[in-house]
């Protein structure tokens, strides 16, 4: 058995101002992405996380640096808070060679294995078996880290969810299944896609402990995911967390939003994670408007720098088209593909 790596979580993870600052970083980055999409700088599918920032923020603060993360196509915030530089994320969205996936992946496929970030996956449910496998590798190699797997509630209808939950529970794999329940899968409401809308009941059917948190409340997410992740780390067994949240924007940039009322969206916006948390901190005397403005301005500075970086970054030469289809071994084996 390898010795456990010391936890290297950054100092004061979960500290209120850092939670707020990180939510602001995601928000400002994504607002800019929407603008750049309109300008044609970012293309393909772009799925914004606006409204859901408390989930990734609370959860990422609760994870240790060596923990692994598997995410979906709505992963910009998760990547950023895993430590992927905003520059590299923005360059990826532009399709530039300096992007975190060298421009090959785009918005839906942000990767940074050096930070244990195993990507944006655009196949709904596609990440769950991967997470089980990563955790299996850790278990077999005597590592005690947690693999956190993020997915939307829509993925629960996929076979991959059920197969992965069962495997993880059956084999006692250290996976933290984090379901971001924003009530819709594209235009399909949870109540129209699940016979059992109590998602934690599903975990129970696999003999798995479950946790539920208000996904609009970053502190609640941080505390709940911290507890859940610690349990997974200590027991070596999986757990399921449901984060109840809501997306404020369209599913992607192509969605005319025919399936939900404006009033419903407005109602949820009153619970927006950034302003409700900052109001709470102000009431507690932990934040002043000046500090808020300074955090926001810092986020904006980071975004502007990232856009400048992406603009200036080089395009990959076309001559490299066939790069990275195979690893160097294929070349070593005679080189013919």
């Amino acid at each position: 058995m390898k010795k456990r790596q010391p936890t290297q979580s950054r100092p004061a993870a979960g500290e209120p101002q850092r939670l707020l600052a990180d939510m602001l970083r995601i928000r400002r980055m994504e607002e800019k992405c929407a603008e750049l999409y309109g300008a044609g700088k970012i293309r393909g599918f772009l799925h914004l996380y606006i409204g859901e920032e408390a989930c990734a923020t609370g959860a990422m603060h609760a994870l240790a640096e060596e923990d692994r993360v598997v995410a979906t196509y709505r992963e910009h915030g998760h990547a950023l808070l895993r430590g992927v530089p905003m520059d590299a994320i923005m360059a990826e969205m532009f399709g530039k060679a300096s992007g975190c996936s060298r421009g090959r992946g785009g918005s839906m496929h942000l990767f940074d294995v050096s930070r244990h970030f195993y990507g944006g996956n655009a196949i709904v449910g596609g990440g769950l078996p991967l997470a089980a496998g990563l955790a299996l590798a850790d278990k077999l190699q005597g590592e005690s880290r947690v693999t956190a797997c993020f997915f939307g509630e829509g993925a629960i209808a996929e076979g991959a969810f059920h197969e992965s939950m069962n495997l993880a529970a059956l084999w006692a794999l250290p996976v933290l299944f984090c379901c971001e329940n924003n009530l819709y899968a594209m235009g399909t409401a949870l109540s129209r896609s699940e016979s059992q809308t109590d998602l934690c009941a599903k975990a129970a059917s696999y003999n798995m402990d479950s946790f539920r948190a208000d996904g609009m409340d970053v502190r609640a997410v941080f505390e709940t995911v911290s507890r859940a992740a610690n349990q997974v780390r200590e027991s070596g067994r999986p757990a399921f967390v449901e984060l109840q949240t809501y997306r404020f924007r369209a599913h992607s940039m192509f969605d005319p939003e025919l399936y939900r009322d404006k009033a419903e969206v407005e109602q949820w916006k009153t619970r927006g994670p950034i302003h409700s948390f900052s109001a709470q901190l102000k009431a507690e005397g932990l934040l002043t408007e000046d500090v808020f403005l300074a955090l926001d301005a810092a986020a904006q500075v980071e975004v502007d720098a990232a856009v400048a970086f992406a603009e200036a970054a080089p395009w990959e030469p076309e001559a490299d088209l066939l790069k990275d289809v195979h690893g160097p071994a294929a070349v070593a084996h005679g080189g013919r593909r």
């Binding site: 293309r43 393909g44 599918f45 399709g95 530039k96 996936s101 421009g103 090959r104 992946g105 785009g106 839906m108 496929h109 996956n121 655009a122 196949i123 709904v124 449910g125 596609g126 829509g154 993925a155 209808a157 996929e158 076979g159 991959a160 899968a185 594209m186 235009g187 399909t188 129209r192 896609s193 699940e194 969605d255 005319p256 025919l258 399936y259 395009w315 990959e316 076309e318 088209l321 066939l322 289809v325 593909r337």
Partner: protein, 326 residues
């Protein structure tokens, strides 16, 4: 009056639903969302949620349910959002839909239509952009169609529904906004889902293609014509079973062939066509056949890299010119 490929597909669906109570459409977001590519937009209001049936994200489940419903006497049309997602349903398509008639000694029939989106060109990256039509064209027991014109978008559904066996219809993402005048009704109603079509006659080479590459082949033919080179364009339309007669007849006229296929060259439909030509009319050829296919790489996100990976007009033109030594 011009109609779009999308509108033509929708009109065909509307007609099928209106004419046969056994027909229903199901798939992810076909109803309330209005269809991912807006093909089924408005049909929910017209036909109600039983017949425009939104499904959960359960490709294996709902495609399999389509197989069962067809077996049980209905005429389901199942929409799969994107060909990459159809891989989650592959088991039900390949191990059930295609096999039930044969395994049951002819007792079972699966009159199912599966529609799915295929192809690249919108910077959607590797998990939304592939062309795997050939995988399905490999399987005995299913018919595989690739409408590439507005007339075929309008005409193919009715004969597909009348087919006693499963039919897969591939709609290329780049064709939805294609606009064209529909030919007179008698013509598109006579849609034959067993034959390829000669889209342009010519004498010096045959461009054989299908789906999203047809407009590229037609444009290449135009550009070649401007330089005095006269090529024929064959639209396969039906990827299984292949219409070998139309292919061979064209080769015997032109003696040169370039196959254009958005699939990867290795193991491609283009490879199958070249093999058939070699078997049936090798001695009619004046030059080795050529293939213009996608580069052997998952489709990249960046615009210029995506374009570099896909068959382009310039490559088709160059292939023909090289073949003619001009």
């Amino acid at each position: 009056m011009k109609v779009s490929y999308r509108e033509a597909l929708r009109e065909a669906l509307r007609e099928a639903l209106a004419q046969d109570p056994r027909v229903f459409l199901m798939g992810e977001d076909v109803g309330r969302y209005g269809g991912t590519y807006a093909v089924s937009k408005g049909l929910l209001d017209e036909f109600g949620p039983d017949r425009i049936r939104d499904t959960p994200l359960s490709e294996l489940g709902f495609v399999g349910a389509g197989v069962g419903a067809a077996l049980g006497g209905m005429r389901p049309i199942v929409e799969v959002m994107t060909i990459n997602f159809s891989l989650l349903a592959l088991d039900q398509i390949v191990n059930s839909a295609a096999l039930l008639r044969h395994m049951s000694g002819g007792q079972c029939a699966v009159p199912l239509v599966i529609r799915m989106v295929t192809g690249a060109g919108r910077q959607l990256a590797a998990q939304h952009s592939h062309s795997l039509e050939n995988w399905y064209a490999h399987i005995p027991g299913i018919r595989v169609l690739a409408p590439a014109t507005v007339a075929d978008a309008r005409g193919m559904l009715a004969p597909a529904l009348a087919d006693p066996d499963p039919v897969i219809i591939f709609e290329h993402a780049q064709l939805y906004n294609l606009e064209d005048a529909l030919p007179v009704e008698r013509v598109w109603r006579a849609c034959d889902i067993s034959r390829a079509a000669v889209r342009r006659t010519g004498t010096q080479a045959s461009l054989i293609t299908y789906g999203g590459c047809l407009p590229k082949a037609m444009q290449a033919a135009d550009e070649l014509a401007a330089t005095g080179i006269d090529v024929e364009v064959i639209d396969l339309r039906v990827l299984r079973p292949l219409d070998l007669d139309t292919i061979a007849a064209s080769v015997r006229r032109t003696h040169r062939v370039v196959v254009v296929d958005e699939g990867w060259k290795t193991g491609s439909l283009a490879g199958e066509i070249v093999a058939r030509i070699a078997e049936d009319c090798l001695y009619d050829l004046d030059a080795p056949p050529r293939r213009v296919c996608s580069a052997e790489v998952p489709i990249p996100y960046a615009r210029h890299m995506e374009a570099a990976a896909l068959p382009q007009v310039a490559q088709i033109v160059a292939a023909v010119k090289e073949m003619l030594n001009v």
